[in-house]
Protein backbone atom coordinates (compact mmCIF):
# COMPACT_ATOMS: atom_id res chain seq x y z
CA UNK A 1 0.00 0.00 0.00
CA UNK A 2 1.36 3.40 -0.95
CA UNK A 3 1.93 6.11 1.61
CA UNK A 4 -0.68 8.25 -0.15
CA UNK A 5 -3.32 5.62 0.58
CA UNK A 6 -2.72 6.24 4.26
CA UNK A 7 -3.03 10.02 4.06
CA UNK A 8 -6.73 10.11 4.90
CA UNK A 9 -6.30 7.76 7.85
CA UNK A 10 -3.31 9.79 8.98
CA UNK A 11 -5.34 12.99 8.91
CA UNK A 12 -8.08 11.25 10.90
CA UNK A 13 -5.56 10.02 13.47
CA UNK A 14 -6.43 6.40 12.78
CA UNK A 15 -2.95 5.16 11.89
CA UNK A 16 -0.66 3.31 14.31
CA UNK A 17 2.51 5.15 15.40
CA UNK A 18 5.08 3.81 12.96
CA UNK A 19 2.89 4.20 9.90
CA UNK A 20 1.79 7.64 11.05
CA UNK A 21 5.44 8.67 11.30
CA UNK A 22 6.16 7.33 7.83
CA UNK A 23 3.26 9.28 6.35
CA UNK A 24 4.36 12.42 8.20
CA UNK A 25 7.82 12.09 6.64
CA UNK A 26 6.27 11.61 3.21
CA UNK A 27 4.18 14.75 3.63
CA UNK A 28 7.28 16.74 4.47
CA UNK A 29 9.24 15.55 1.43
CA UNK A 30 6.56 14.89 -1.18
CA UNK A 31 4.77 18.02 -2.39
CA UNK A 32 2.22 15.95 -4.29
CA UNK A 33 1.29 14.07 -1.14
CA UNK A 34 1.05 17.35 0.69
CA UNK A 35 -1.29 18.67 -1.98
CA UNK A 36 -3.48 15.59 -1.58
CA UNK A 37 -3.55 16.07 2.17
CA UNK A 38 -4.51 19.72 1.77
CA UNK A 39 -7.31 18.73 -0.57
CA UNK A 40 -8.59 16.13 1.88
CA UNK A 41 -8.49 18.62 4.72
CA UNK A 42 -10.47 21.16 2.69
CA UNK A 43 -13.10 18.58 1.74
CA UNK A 44 -13.30 17.34 5.30
CA UNK A 45 -13.65 20.84 6.72
CA UNK A 46 -16.37 21.71 4.23
CA UNK A 47 -18.24 18.47 4.90
CA UNK A 48 -18.40 19.32 8.57
CA UNK A 49 -20.45 22.36 7.63
CA UNK A 50 -23.14 20.03 6.37
CA UNK A 51 -26.12 20.02 8.67
CA UNK A 52 -29.64 18.84 8.74
CA UNK A 53 -31.92 21.69 9.69
CA UNK A 54 -34.90 19.47 10.33
CA UNK A 55 -36.36 20.06 13.75
CA UNK A 56 -36.21 16.98 15.89
CA UNK A 57 -39.73 15.65 16.32
CA UNK A 58 -41.58 12.49 17.12
CA UNK A 59 -40.13 11.72 20.55
CA UNK A 60 -43.52 11.67 22.25
CA UNK A 61 -44.97 9.36 19.61
CA UNK A 62 -41.98 7.09 19.93
CA UNK A 63 -42.34 6.94 23.69
CA UNK A 64 -46.02 6.14 23.26
CA UNK A 65 -45.17 3.43 20.77
CA UNK A 66 -42.60 1.97 23.14
CA UNK A 67 -45.21 1.94 25.90
CA UNK A 68 -47.68 0.24 23.58
CA UNK A 69 -45.72 -1.57 20.85
CA UNK A 70 -48.86 -3.02 19.30
CA UNK A 71 -50.16 0.46 18.68
CA UNK A 72 -46.97 1.57 17.00
CA UNK A 73 -48.59 1.64 13.60
CA UNK A 74 -51.10 4.17 14.83
CA UNK A 75 -48.48 6.73 15.75
CA UNK A 76 -46.47 6.43 12.55
CA UNK A 77 -47.09 9.64 10.71
CA UNK A 78 -45.82 9.31 7.21
CA UNK A 79 -48.10 7.11 5.18
CA UNK A 80 -46.45 4.04 3.77
CA UNK A 81 -46.97 2.75 0.29
CA UNK A 82 -49.96 0.43 0.04
CA UNK A 83 -48.96 -3.20 0.31
CA UNK A 84 -49.57 -3.92 -3.36
CA UNK A 85 -47.12 -1.15 -4.40
CA UNK A 86 -44.25 -2.18 -2.17
CA UNK A 87 -41.21 -3.67 -3.78
CA UNK A 88 -41.82 -7.18 -2.50
CA UNK A 89 -45.42 -7.08 -3.66
CA UNK A 90 -44.35 -5.98 -7.13
CA UNK A 91 -42.06 -8.97 -7.42
CA UNK A 92 -44.91 -11.10 -6.14
CA UNK A 93 -47.21 -9.72 -8.84
CA UNK A 94 -44.57 -10.38 -11.47
CA UNK A 95 -44.12 -13.94 -10.24
CA UNK A 96 -47.87 -14.48 -10.19
CA UNK A 97 -48.22 -13.23 -13.76
CA UNK A 98 -45.35 -15.44 -14.87
CA UNK A 99 -46.86 -18.47 -13.19
CA UNK A 100 -50.27 -17.70 -14.64
CA UNK A 101 -48.94 -16.94 -18.09
CA UNK A 102 -46.59 -19.85 -18.50
CA UNK A 103 -48.09 -22.57 -16.37
CA UNK A 104 -51.80 -22.03 -15.92
CA UNK A 105 -52.95 -20.30 -19.10
CA UNK A 106 -51.71 -22.96 -21.53
CA UNK A 107 -53.59 -25.63 -19.60
CA UNK A 108 -56.81 -23.58 -19.63
CA UNK A 109 -56.78 -22.53 -23.28
CA UNK A 110 -57.73 -25.32 -25.67
CA UNK A 111 -55.43 -25.99 -28.58
CA UNK A 112 -56.53 -24.16 -31.68
CA UNK A 113 -56.67 -26.98 -34.13
CA UNK A 114 -54.17 -29.40 -35.48
CA UNK A 115 -51.94 -28.11 -38.24
CA UNK A 116 -51.56 -31.61 -39.57
CA UNK A 117 -55.18 -31.77 -40.68
CA UNK A 118 -55.14 -33.76 -43.92
CA UNK A 119 -56.29 -32.13 -47.09
CA UNK A 120 -58.90 -34.85 -47.42
CA UNK A 121 -60.83 -33.28 -44.56
CA UNK A 122 -62.10 -30.72 -47.02
CA UNK A 123 -64.46 -33.44 -48.25
CA UNK A 124 -66.54 -32.64 -45.19
CA UNK A 125 -67.73 -29.52 -46.93
CA UNK A 126 -65.78 -26.87 -45.00
CA UNK A 127 -63.21 -24.43 -46.31
CA UNK A 128 -59.57 -25.33 -45.87
CA UNK A 129 -57.09 -22.69 -44.84
CA UNK A 130 -54.34 -22.73 -47.48
CA UNK A 131 -51.86 -21.34 -44.97
CA UNK A 132 -52.01 -24.55 -42.95
CA UNK A 133 -50.93 -26.94 -45.67
CA UNK A 134 -47.73 -27.35 -47.65
CA UNK A 135 -47.09 -24.84 -50.42
CA UNK A 136 -47.49 -27.47 -53.09
CA UNK A 137 -51.09 -28.11 -52.02
CA UNK A 138 -52.10 -24.50 -51.56
CA UNK A 139 -52.99 -23.90 -55.19
CA UNK A 140 -55.30 -26.89 -55.28
CA UNK A 141 -57.02 -25.88 -52.06
CA UNK A 142 -57.43 -22.29 -53.14
CA UNK A 143 -59.04 -23.52 -56.36
CA UNK A 144 -61.31 -25.79 -54.35
CA UNK A 145 -62.29 -22.98 -51.97
CA UNK A 146 -62.97 -20.65 -54.86
CA UNK A 147 -65.16 -23.26 -56.47
CA UNK A 148 -67.08 -23.81 -53.24
CA UNK A 149 -67.58 -20.09 -52.83
CA UNK A 150 -68.86 -19.77 -56.38
CA UNK A 151 -71.28 -22.61 -55.86
CA UNK A 152 -72.40 -21.21 -52.55
CA UNK A 153 -73.14 -17.84 -54.18
CA UNK A 154 -75.07 -19.58 -56.92
CA UNK A 155 -77.34 -21.12 -54.28
CA UNK A 156 -76.42 -24.68 -55.08
CA UNK A 157 -77.37 -27.07 -52.27
CA UNK A 158 -74.54 -28.99 -50.65
CA UNK A 159 -74.81 -32.69 -50.08
CA UNK A 160 -73.43 -34.68 -47.21
CA UNK A 161 -69.91 -34.90 -48.61
CA UNK A 162 -69.79 -31.22 -49.35
CA UNK A 163 -69.77 -31.63 -53.13
CA UNK A 164 -72.47 -29.41 -54.47
CA UNK A 165 -72.06 -30.24 -58.13
CA UNK A 166 -73.59 -33.68 -58.12
CA UNK A 167 -76.93 -33.26 -56.44
CA UNK A 168 -77.52 -29.67 -57.38
CA UNK A 169 -76.52 -30.14 -60.98
CA UNK A 170 -78.52 -33.25 -61.59
CA UNK A 171 -81.63 -31.96 -59.91
CA UNK A 172 -81.48 -29.09 -62.31
CA UNK A 173 -81.48 -31.55 -65.15
CA UNK A 174 -77.73 -31.89 -65.63
CA UNK A 175 -77.71 -35.67 -65.69
CA UNK A 176 -74.69 -36.04 -67.89
CA UNK A 177 -71.18 -36.03 -66.39
CA UNK A 178 -72.40 -35.73 -62.83
CA UNK A 179 -68.99 -35.10 -61.21
CA UNK A 180 -67.87 -32.46 -63.66
CA UNK A 181 -67.54 -29.08 -61.97
CA UNK A 182 -70.32 -26.78 -63.16
CA UNK A 183 -68.00 -23.81 -63.48
CA UNK A 184 -65.67 -25.37 -66.05
CA UNK A 185 -67.46 -25.25 -69.37
CA UNK A 186 -64.31 -24.44 -71.35
CA UNK A 187 -62.21 -27.21 -69.78
CA UNK A 188 -61.14 -30.07 -72.04
CA UNK A 189 -63.68 -32.90 -72.13
CA UNK A 190 -62.56 -35.66 -69.76
CA UNK A 191 -63.44 -39.33 -69.94
CA UNK A 192 -66.75 -40.17 -68.22
CA UNK A 193 -66.34 -40.28 -64.50
CA UNK A 194 -67.29 -43.35 -62.51
CA UNK A 195 -69.18 -42.25 -59.42
CA UNK A 196 -70.57 -44.58 -56.79
CA UNK A 197 -73.78 -42.97 -55.54
CA UNK A 198 -75.25 -44.03 -52.21
CA UNK A 199 -77.80 -42.44 -49.95
CA UNK A 200 -80.13 -42.74 -47.02
CA UNK A 201 -83.60 -41.29 -47.05
CA UNK A 202 -86.10 -41.19 -44.21
CA UNK A 203 -89.71 -40.23 -44.99
CA UNK A 204 -92.78 -39.79 -42.82
CA UNK A 205 -95.56 -41.24 -44.97
CA UNK A 206 -99.27 -41.26 -44.21
CA UNK A 207 -99.87 -44.59 -45.95
CA UNK A 208 -96.79 -46.73 -45.56
CA UNK A 209 -98.04 -49.70 -47.61
CA UNK A 210 -98.90 -47.50 -50.51
CA UNK A 211 -95.55 -45.77 -50.31
CA UNK A 212 -93.73 -49.11 -50.28
CA UNK A 213 -95.62 -50.24 -53.36
CA UNK A 214 -94.88 -46.98 -55.13
CA UNK A 215 -91.17 -47.29 -54.40
CA UNK A 216 -91.09 -50.89 -55.65
CA UNK A 217 -92.85 -49.98 -58.89
CA UNK A 218 -90.68 -46.93 -59.33
CA UNK A 219 -87.50 -48.97 -58.93
CA UNK A 220 -88.60 -51.49 -61.48
CA UNK A 221 -89.68 -48.72 -63.85
CA UNK A 222 -86.18 -47.24 -63.68
CA UNK A 223 -84.63 -50.58 -64.51
CA UNK A 224 -83.49 -51.26 -60.99
CA UNK A 225 -84.43 -53.69 -58.25
CA UNK A 226 -85.27 -53.87 -54.56
CA UNK A 227 -82.22 -55.28 -52.82
CA UNK A 228 -83.87 -55.72 -49.44
CA UNK A 229 -87.08 -54.85 -47.69
CA UNK A 230 -88.16 -55.35 -44.10
CA UNK A 231 -90.93 -54.16 -41.82
CA UNK A 232 -90.87 -53.74 -38.05
CA UNK A 233 -93.92 -53.37 -35.80
CA UNK A 234 -96.13 -54.11 -38.76
CA UNK A 235 -99.02 -55.01 -36.48
CA UNK A 236 -98.66 -51.80 -34.48
CA UNK A 237 -100.00 -48.42 -35.23
CA UNK A 238 -96.46 -47.21 -35.97
CA UNK A 239 -94.84 -49.67 -38.38
CA UNK A 240 -91.37 -48.95 -39.77
CA UNK A 241 -90.41 -50.15 -43.23
CA UNK A 242 -86.77 -50.28 -44.32
CA UNK A 243 -85.89 -50.81 -47.98
CA UNK A 244 -82.70 -50.78 -49.98
CA UNK A 245 -83.17 -50.17 -53.67
CA UNK A 246 -80.67 -50.20 -56.52
CA UNK A 247 -81.34 -47.93 -59.49
CA UNK A 248 -79.18 -46.92 -62.45
CA UNK A 249 -76.93 -44.06 -61.44
CA UNK A 250 -78.46 -41.67 -63.93
CA UNK A 251 -81.88 -42.20 -62.33
CA UNK A 252 -80.65 -41.86 -58.75
CA UNK A 253 -81.71 -38.26 -58.33
CA UNK A 254 -85.06 -38.89 -59.95
CA UNK A 255 -85.64 -41.68 -57.47
CA UNK A 256 -84.67 -39.44 -54.58
CA UNK A 257 -87.00 -36.71 -55.79
CA UNK A 258 -89.97 -39.02 -56.21
CA UNK A 259 -89.49 -40.81 -52.89
CA UNK A 260 -89.06 -37.46 -51.09
CA UNK A 261 -92.44 -36.40 -52.45
CA UNK A 262 -94.15 -39.34 -50.74
CA UNK A 263 -94.19 -37.53 -47.40
CA UNK A 264 -92.12 -35.37 -45.11
CA UNK A 265 -88.39 -36.07 -45.29
CA UNK A 266 -86.85 -36.42 -41.84
CA UNK A 267 -83.45 -37.73 -42.94
CA UNK A 268 -81.47 -37.23 -46.10
CA UNK A 269 -77.88 -38.32 -46.49
CA UNK A 270 -76.57 -38.55 -50.05
CA UNK A 271 -73.00 -39.43 -50.94
CA UNK A 272 -70.91 -39.71 -54.06
CA UNK A 273 -67.49 -41.31 -54.39
CA UNK A 274 -65.43 -40.88 -57.50
CA UNK A 275 -63.78 -44.25 -58.25
CA UNK A 276 -62.53 -43.40 -61.74
CA UNK A 277 -58.90 -43.31 -60.65
CA UNK A 278 -59.19 -46.62 -58.83
CA UNK A 279 -60.77 -48.33 -61.83
CA UNK A 280 -58.22 -46.89 -64.24
CA UNK A 281 -55.41 -48.01 -61.95
CA UNK A 282 -56.91 -51.47 -61.71
CA UNK A 283 -57.16 -51.72 -65.48
CA UNK A 284 -53.56 -50.66 -65.91
CA UNK A 285 -52.40 -53.21 -63.37
CA UNK A 286 -54.51 -55.86 -65.09
CA UNK A 287 -52.92 -55.06 -68.41
CA UNK A 288 -49.45 -55.41 -66.95
CA UNK A 289 -50.26 -58.60 -65.11
CA UNK A 290 -51.81 -60.17 -68.20
CA UNK A 291 -48.76 -59.33 -70.25
CA UNK A 292 -46.60 -60.90 -67.58
CA UNK A 293 -48.89 -63.94 -67.57
CA UNK A 294 -48.45 -64.35 -71.33
CA UNK A 295 -44.69 -64.11 -70.96
CA UNK A 296 -44.69 -66.71 -68.20
CA UNK A 297 -46.81 -69.07 -70.32
CA UNK A 298 -44.30 -68.68 -73.10
CA UNK A 299 -41.46 -69.44 -70.70
CA UNK A 300 -43.36 -72.44 -69.36
CA UNK A 301 -43.71 -73.92 -72.83
CA UNK A 302 -39.92 -73.82 -73.20
CA UNK A 303 -39.03 -75.00 -69.72
CA UNK A 304 -37.06 -78.22 -69.56
CA UNK A 305 -36.30 -78.98 -65.94
CA UNK A 306 -38.85 -79.81 -63.26
CA UNK A 307 -37.58 -77.03 -61.03
CA UNK A 308 -38.03 -74.46 -63.79
CA UNK A 309 -41.52 -75.67 -64.49
CA UNK A 310 -42.49 -75.55 -60.81
CA UNK A 311 -41.07 -72.09 -60.32
CA UNK A 312 -42.86 -70.69 -63.36
CA UNK A 313 -46.13 -72.34 -62.41
CA UNK A 314 -45.93 -70.90 -58.91
CA UNK A 315 -45.41 -67.48 -60.33
CA UNK A 316 -48.24 -68.03 -62.83
CA UNK A 317 -50.60 -69.05 -60.04
CA UNK A 318 -49.71 -65.96 -58.09
CA UNK A 319 -50.24 -63.70 -61.10
CA UNK A 320 -53.54 -65.35 -61.93
CA UNK A 321 -54.73 -64.83 -58.36
CA UNK A 322 -53.85 -61.16 -58.52
CA UNK A 323 -55.56 -60.77 -61.88
CA UNK A 324 -58.77 -62.30 -60.58
CA UNK A 325 -58.78 -60.20 -57.43
CA UNK A 326 -58.18 -56.96 -59.27
CA UNK A 327 -60.65 -57.85 -61.98
CA UNK A 328 -63.32 -58.63 -59.39
CA UNK A 329 -62.70 -55.33 -57.65
CA UNK A 330 -62.85 -53.48 -60.95
CA UNK A 331 -66.10 -55.12 -61.94
CA UNK A 332 -67.57 -54.50 -58.52
CA UNK A 333 -66.72 -50.81 -58.71
CA UNK A 334 -68.11 -50.55 -62.19
CA UNK A 335 -71.27 -52.27 -60.99
CA UNK A 336 -71.61 -49.92 -58.05
CA UNK A 337 -71.02 -46.99 -60.35
CA UNK A 338 -73.76 -48.21 -62.67
CA UNK A 339 -76.33 -49.09 -60.04
CA UNK A 340 -76.61 -46.65 -57.18
CA UNK A 341 -77.87 -47.73 -53.77
CA UNK A 342 -80.52 -45.94 -51.75
CA UNK A 343 -81.67 -46.97 -48.28
CA UNK A 344 -85.20 -45.78 -47.55
CA UNK A 345 -86.96 -45.75 -44.19
CA UNK A 346 -90.71 -45.18 -44.10
CA UNK A 347 -92.42 -44.23 -40.87
CA UNK A 348 -95.60 -42.64 -39.61
CA UNK A 349 -95.21 -39.07 -38.48
CA UNK A 350 -94.72 -38.95 -34.68
CA UNK A 351 -97.49 -37.64 -32.49
CA UNK A 352 -97.23 -34.10 -31.20
CA UNK A 353 -94.93 -33.95 -28.18
CA UNK A 354 -96.52 -33.79 -24.78
CA UNK A 355 -96.16 -30.35 -23.25
CA UNK A 356 -94.21 -30.68 -20.04
CA UNK A 357 -94.99 -28.11 -17.42
CA UNK A 358 -91.87 -26.07 -16.58
CA UNK A 359 -90.27 -26.75 -13.25
CA UNK A 360 -91.15 -24.27 -10.56
CA UNK A 361 -88.50 -21.58 -10.26
CA UNK A 362 -86.21 -21.94 -7.27
CA UNK A 363 -86.29 -19.27 -4.58
CA UNK A 364 -83.75 -16.54 -5.25
CA UNK A 365 -81.72 -17.39 -2.17
CA UNK A 366 -81.36 -21.00 -3.29
CA UNK A 367 -80.32 -19.88 -6.77
CA UNK A 368 -77.82 -17.40 -5.35
CA UNK A 369 -76.42 -20.03 -3.01
CA UNK A 370 -76.07 -22.52 -5.88
CA UNK A 371 -74.27 -19.97 -8.02
CA UNK A 372 -72.02 -18.90 -5.16
CA UNK A 373 -71.01 -22.45 -4.29
CA UNK A 374 -70.36 -23.10 -7.95
CA UNK A 375 -68.03 -20.11 -8.15
CA UNK A 376 -66.33 -21.06 -4.92
CA UNK A 377 -65.61 -24.54 -6.20
CA UNK A 378 -64.25 -23.02 -9.42
CA UNK A 379 -61.93 -20.76 -7.43
CA UNK A 380 -60.79 -23.65 -5.25
CA UNK A 381 -60.21 -25.73 -8.35
CA UNK A 382 -58.17 -22.91 -9.87
CA UNK A 383 -55.93 -22.63 -6.83
CA UNK A 384 -55.51 -26.38 -6.58
CA UNK A 385 -54.42 -26.45 -10.23
CA UNK A 386 -52.11 -23.50 -9.57
CA UNK A 387 -50.60 -25.23 -6.56
CA UNK A 388 -50.07 -28.47 -8.44
CA UNK A 389 -48.51 -26.63 -11.37
CA UNK A 390 -46.13 -24.80 -9.07
CA UNK A 391 -45.35 -28.00 -7.22
CA UNK A 392 -44.56 -29.89 -10.38
CA UNK A 393 -42.33 -27.06 -11.63
CA UNK A 394 -40.62 -26.51 -8.31
CA UNK A 395 -37.28 -27.99 -9.42
CA UNK A 396 -37.13 -25.25 -12.07
CA UNK A 397 -38.78 -22.45 -10.17
CA UNK A 398 -36.73 -22.80 -7.00
CA UNK A 399 -33.27 -22.21 -8.50
CA UNK A 400 -34.61 -19.45 -10.73
CA UNK A 401 -36.42 -17.86 -7.82
CA UNK A 402 -33.32 -18.05 -5.67
CA UNK A 403 -31.19 -16.40 -8.35
CA UNK A 404 -33.78 -13.65 -8.86
CA UNK A 405 -34.02 -13.12 -5.12
CA UNK A 406 -30.23 -12.98 -4.80
CA UNK A 407 -29.74 -10.44 -7.55
CA UNK A 408 -32.72 -8.34 -6.50
CA UNK A 409 -31.46 -8.31 -2.96
CA UNK A 410 -27.96 -7.41 -4.05
CA UNK A 411 -29.19 -4.68 -6.37
CA UNK A 412 -31.62 -3.33 -3.80
CA UNK A 413 -29.01 -3.10 -1.07
CA UNK A 414 -26.59 -1.29 -3.31
CA UNK A 415 -28.98 1.39 -4.53
CA UNK A 416 -30.94 2.44 -1.43
CA UNK A 417 -30.40 6.05 -0.46
Amino acid sequence: MSRRDDIKAYLDGELPGDRAMAVAETLQTDTGARSVADGYRAISTTLRLAVDNTKVSGLEETLAAIANPRGAQAVARSPQLPWYRRTGALYGWAAAFLVFGFLILPSLVPHSGDDSTPIGSSVGGGRVDPNKVPVADQKMIEDSNAQMDAQSKAGAPRNAIGYTGVLGGERAGMAAAPMAPPSAPSAPVASPRLVVRTGTLGVYAKDIDRARTTITDLTRGYGGFVESSSADNEADANPIVSMTIRVPVDRFDDAVRVISSLGKVFQEDLNGQDVTTTVVDDEARLKTLRAEEDDLRDILSHARSISEILAVRDRLTDIRSQIETIDAERQNLRGQAQMSSLAVTLEHAPAAPVQVAPLPEKPWMVSAWTRATGRTSAVIKFFVILFLNILSNLPILLPVGFLVWYFVRKNRNSRVY
Binding site: S2, R4, D5, I7, K8, A9, D12, E14, G32, S35, V36, D38, G39, Y40, R41, A42, I43, S44, T45, T46, L47, R48, L49, A50, V51, D52, N53, T54, K55, V56, S57, G58, L59, E61, T62, L63, A65, I66, A67, P69, A72, V75, A76, R77, S78, Q80, L81, R86, T87, R412, N413, S414, R415, V416, Y417
Partner: protein
Protein backbone atom coordinates in the same frame (compact mmCIF):
# COMPACT_ATOMS: atom_id res chain seq x y z
CA UNK B 1 -25.08 8.90 28.76
CA UNK B 2 -24.81 5.13 29.04
CA UNK B 3 -21.59 3.61 27.78
CA UNK B 4 -20.16 0.13 27.41
CA UNK B 5 -19.08 -0.05 31.01
CA UNK B 6 -22.45 1.10 32.28
CA UNK B 7 -24.26 -1.62 30.45
CA UNK B 8 -21.89 -4.40 31.38
CA UNK B 9 -22.04 -3.48 35.07
CA UNK B 10 -25.79 -3.19 35.09
CA UNK B 11 -27.57 -6.39 35.96
CA UNK B 12 -30.89 -5.47 34.34
CA UNK B 13 -31.07 -4.13 30.79
CA UNK B 14 -31.52 -0.35 30.55
CA UNK B 15 -34.96 1.11 30.26
CA UNK B 16 -35.79 1.68 26.59
CA UNK B 17 -37.79 4.80 27.37
CA UNK B 18 -34.79 6.28 29.13
CA UNK B 19 -32.60 5.39 26.18
CA UNK B 20 -35.08 7.00 23.83
CA UNK B 21 -35.14 10.25 25.80
CA UNK B 22 -31.34 10.32 25.88
CA UNK B 23 -30.52 9.29 22.30
CA UNK B 24 -33.62 10.17 20.29
CA UNK B 25 -32.18 13.43 18.96
CA UNK B 26 -28.96 11.76 17.79
CA UNK B 27 -30.85 8.92 16.17
CA UNK B 28 -33.29 11.34 14.55
CA UNK B 29 -30.46 13.42 13.03
CA UNK B 30 -28.68 10.29 11.91
CA UNK B 31 -31.87 9.16 10.16
CA UNK B 32 -32.53 12.62 8.72
CA UNK B 33 -29.15 12.50 6.97
CA UNK B 34 -30.17 9.29 5.26
CA UNK B 35 -33.91 9.41 4.62
CA UNK B 36 -34.68 13.11 4.98
CA UNK B 37 -36.42 15.01 7.71
CA UNK B 38 -39.91 13.94 6.65
CA UNK B 39 -39.15 10.27 7.14
CA UNK B 40 -36.68 10.58 9.99
CA UNK B 41 -39.34 10.35 12.70
CA UNK B 42 -40.66 7.07 11.32
CA UNK B 43 -37.16 5.64 11.00
CA UNK B 44 -36.26 6.78 14.51
CA UNK B 45 -39.42 5.27 15.96
CA UNK B 46 -38.77 2.02 14.14
CA UNK B 47 -35.24 2.07 15.51
CA UNK B 48 -36.38 2.28 19.11
CA UNK B 49 -39.12 -0.32 18.63
CA UNK B 50 -36.53 -2.69 17.18
CA UNK B 51 -34.15 -1.84 20.01
CA UNK B 52 -36.92 -2.58 22.51
CA UNK B 53 -37.28 -6.09 21.11
CA UNK B 54 -33.53 -6.66 20.85
CA UNK B 55 -32.44 -5.02 24.07
CA UNK B 56 -32.29 -8.26 26.03
CA UNK B 57 -29.75 -9.55 23.49
CA UNK B 58 -27.48 -6.53 23.77
CA UNK B 59 -24.11 -7.80 25.00
CA UNK B 60 -22.47 -4.46 25.63
CA UNK B 61 -19.70 -5.02 23.08
CA UNK B 62 -20.17 -1.48 21.82
CA UNK B 63 -21.39 1.85 23.01
CA UNK B 64 -25.18 1.94 23.33
CA UNK B 65 -25.38 4.88 20.96
CA UNK B 66 -23.35 3.00 18.37
CA UNK B 67 -25.64 0.04 18.80
CA UNK B 68 -28.70 2.25 18.33
CA UNK B 69 -27.20 3.89 15.25
CA UNK B 70 -26.49 0.45 13.81
CA UNK B 71 -30.18 -0.38 14.21
CA UNK B 72 -31.07 3.02 12.78
CA UNK B 73 -28.85 2.31 9.79
CA UNK B 74 -30.84 -0.84 9.00
CA UNK B 75 -34.17 0.90 9.66
CA UNK B 76 -33.22 3.64 7.22
CA UNK B 77 -32.24 1.10 4.57
CA UNK B 78 -35.57 -0.68 4.98
CA UNK B 79 -37.55 2.56 4.93
CA UNK B 80 -35.69 3.90 1.89
CA UNK B 81 -36.28 0.62 0.09
CA UNK B 82 -39.99 0.44 0.94
CA UNK B 83 -40.66 4.07 0.06
CA UNK B 84 -38.14 4.18 -2.78
CA UNK B 85 -36.44 7.25 -1.41
CA UNK B 86 -33.74 9.15 -3.23
CA UNK B 87 -30.45 10.10 -1.56
CA UNK B 88 -30.74 13.17 0.61
CA UNK B 89 -28.62 16.05 -0.73
CA UNK B 90 -26.18 17.72 1.62
CA UNK B 91 -27.16 21.05 3.14
CA UNK B 92 -24.39 23.39 4.25
CA UNK B 93 -24.36 26.25 6.69
CA UNK B 94 -22.30 29.39 6.27
CA UNK B 95 -18.84 28.89 7.77
CA UNK B 96 -18.87 30.29 11.31
CA UNK B 97 -16.29 32.69 12.67
CA UNK B 98 -13.01 31.16 13.60
CA UNK B 99 -12.98 28.52 10.88
CA UNK B 100 -10.07 28.36 8.46
CA UNK B 101 -10.07 30.95 5.69
CA UNK B 102 -12.25 30.43 2.57
CA UNK B 103 -9.21 29.26 0.62
CA UNK B 104 -9.13 26.05 2.62
CA UNK B 105 -12.73 25.21 1.90
CA UNK B 106 -13.99 23.79 -1.36
CA UNK B 107 -16.92 25.01 -3.39
CA UNK B 108 -19.95 23.71 -1.54
CA UNK B 109 -22.12 23.31 -4.62
CA UNK B 110 -19.36 21.34 -6.32
CA UNK B 111 -18.90 19.23 -3.20
CA UNK B 112 -22.63 18.53 -3.02
CA UNK B 113 -22.46 17.33 -6.60
CA UNK B 114 -19.35 15.25 -5.96
CA UNK B 115 -20.91 13.72 -2.88
CA UNK B 116 -24.06 12.80 -4.80
CA UNK B 117 -21.95 10.84 -7.29
CA UNK B 118 -20.60 8.53 -4.59
CA UNK B 119 -21.97 5.03 -4.16
CA UNK B 120 -24.16 4.42 -1.10
CA UNK B 121 -21.32 2.54 0.62
CA UNK B 122 -18.98 5.49 0.21
CA UNK B 123 -21.63 8.00 1.27
CA UNK B 124 -22.33 6.07 4.44
CA UNK B 125 -18.75 6.10 5.68
CA UNK B 126 -18.30 9.77 4.76
CA UNK B 127 -21.43 10.75 6.69
CA UNK B 128 -20.48 8.70 9.73
CA UNK B 129 -16.88 9.85 9.83
CA UNK B 130 -17.04 13.44 8.66
CA UNK B 131 -20.51 14.58 9.67
CA UNK B 132 -21.26 12.37 12.67
CA UNK B 133 -17.63 12.52 13.77
CA UNK B 134 -17.27 8.84 14.58
CA UNK B 135 -14.12 6.76 14.72
CA UNK B 136 -13.34 4.07 12.16
CA UNK B 137 -14.14 1.44 14.74
CA UNK B 138 -17.58 2.93 15.45
CA UNK B 139 -18.29 3.34 11.76
CA UNK B 140 -17.47 -0.33 11.26
CA UNK B 141 -19.74 -1.39 14.10
CA UNK B 142 -22.65 0.62 12.73
CA UNK B 143 -22.21 -0.53 9.17
CA UNK B 144 -21.28 -4.08 10.10
CA UNK B 145 -17.91 -3.97 8.34
CA UNK B 146 -14.31 -4.11 9.59
CA UNK B 147 -12.47 -0.91 10.42
CA UNK B 148 -10.00 -1.61 7.62
CA UNK B 149 -12.86 -1.54 5.13
CA UNK B 150 -13.99 1.80 6.56
CA UNK B 151 -10.50 3.18 6.04
CA UNK B 152 -10.37 1.88 2.47
CA UNK B 153 -13.83 3.24 1.60
CA UNK B 154 -13.01 6.62 3.06
CA UNK B 155 -9.78 6.78 1.10
CA UNK B 156 -11.54 5.96 -2.16
CA UNK B 157 -14.45 8.29 -1.41
CA UNK B 158 -12.08 11.21 -0.87
CA UNK B 159 -10.10 10.34 -3.97
CA UNK B 160 -13.29 10.35 -6.02
CA UNK B 161 -14.48 13.61 -4.53
CA UNK B 162 -11.11 15.26 -5.26
CA UNK B 163 -11.31 14.01 -8.80
CA UNK B 164 -14.86 15.32 -9.20
CA UNK B 165 -13.79 18.66 -7.76
CA UNK B 166 -11.18 18.97 -10.49
CA UNK B 167 -7.98 18.19 -8.65
CA UNK B 168 -5.75 16.30 -11.08
CA UNK B 169 -3.85 14.61 -8.27
CA UNK B 170 -7.03 12.97 -7.06
CA UNK B 171 -6.91 10.29 -9.70
CA UNK B 172 -6.87 6.73 -8.50
CA UNK B 173 -3.55 4.98 -8.62
Amino acid sequence: MLAIGDISMTAAPPDIAELAREHYAAVFRFCAQRVGGQNAADAAQDTFLTAQRALSGFKGRSDIKTWLLGIAHNSCRKLARDRRLQPVPLEFIEPPEGLPSEARLVDREALRSAFAKLTPEHRHVVILKEIEGMSYEECGLILGIPAGTVKSRLHHAFQLMRKSLGDPTGELK
